[in-house]
Symmetry: C2
Subunit: 209 residues, 2 copies
């Protein structure tokens, strides 16, 4: 297998943390997003959508998108389980992970892409140049502030985002909080439980991945 | 189990088609989105995010978001498989389903929510009133046109969206094409393979669900 990564980008970081938690090492190629390597013909042969992360299987099949890649790795390397141990816990973790993506990650992307000069024509990821929309940057920032409150509510009920153990939902939330830092937003004094959780998940060795 | 549905909405339709393909019948409650029933305290006890679909398990646990619900049902009712039969096919179908969501469904939502008078303060689903952004309606429409071309490329390579058999990726794509009709966009003469596929999947009995 080969993993197509970009060290600075938040989506492939989710996969890197996932692999670090499982102790997996996979042959990795860096894709230089800052210089548009993801939009060049050589990479578009790997992924016509022009995004990372991508996991290329030994038969050449390329899987993109974070959660499908993680699910494949979970099947190959089940221990420790990061996506649940039975039908119900798998469903709860998948659902909570979607919340972190839809209510958090997408807001971070809106806030960052629509306010950063170098992304003036990169309003969405991938091959299509789409102009930034300033109102969307504001919508994204407001969404991130709501997301922090949502994290606080969830984490006032238990130590992790989805149940009693660390999971891909925590990995996703951690990457959202760090992504929000790119637009200078972060957890505040009104999020004591989320801050405690953030300190804990950030200090796991995998967080450096 | 109890399924919280809204007949007119495209997301719960994905679950209804999924259940129809498997021959599953689950006790169902309609949530009247048009009259804001999803934002009332009674429903917010079921799902604090204020969205459908929701699957309530017998122990009271509520799972929201389409794919996590479908994955749970796939575990309980594995035949016929709609999410793959081995690690690789599960990964390919999950990845393609994400493409249909990110490159199609989100564009439909952008186009519809940001151009429909009754949704002037419903720019995103759920509990938060967010103003519509007219530029986003245009971005969504352009995205749907690109999505139709993407469908044509995928369906010129095989009969279904992800491999040789009908899957949740086809269900998702079908619901996107029908959702696009809400903003008066559709497949054209330049999409012969996608049109043939659409005719085929639309004529399955499950499509009426």
């Amino acid at each position: 297998m080969k993993f197509y990564d970009c060290t600075i980008a938040p989506s492939p970081r989710r996969v890197r943390i996932f692999m670090a938690e499982k102790g997996i090492q996979i042959d990795t190629a860096q894709v230089d997003l800052l210089n548009g390597e993801n939009l060049k013909p050589e990479f578009l042969k790997i992924n016509p959508r022009g995004v990372v992360p991508v996991l290329q299987l030994d038969d050449g099949t390329c899987i993109d998108e974070t959660v499908p890649i993680c699910r494949y790795l979970e099947e190959l390397y089940p221990d420790p389980p990061l996506m649940g141990h039975d039908a119900k816990s798998r469903a709860v973790i998948a659902s909570r992970t979607r919340h972190m993506e839809m209510d958090g990650f997408l807001c971070g992307a809106e806030a960052f892409r629509n306010s950063t000069p170098g992304f003036a024509d990169r309003g969405i990821p991938g091959v299509t140049g789409v102009p930034a929309i300033p109102q969307l940057a504001e919508r994204g920032r407001a969404g991130l502030l709501r997301f922090f409150d949502q994290l606080e509510r969830v984490l006032s009920q238990g130590p992790y985002i989805a149940g009693d153990t660390f999971s891909i939902a925590d990995i996703t939330a951690l990457c959202v909080v760090d992504f929000a830092g790119w637009v200078k937003l972060g957890l505040s004094d009104s999020h004591p439980n989320a801050r405690k959780w953030y300190g804990s998940v950030s200090s796991r060795p995998s967080a450096k991945a």
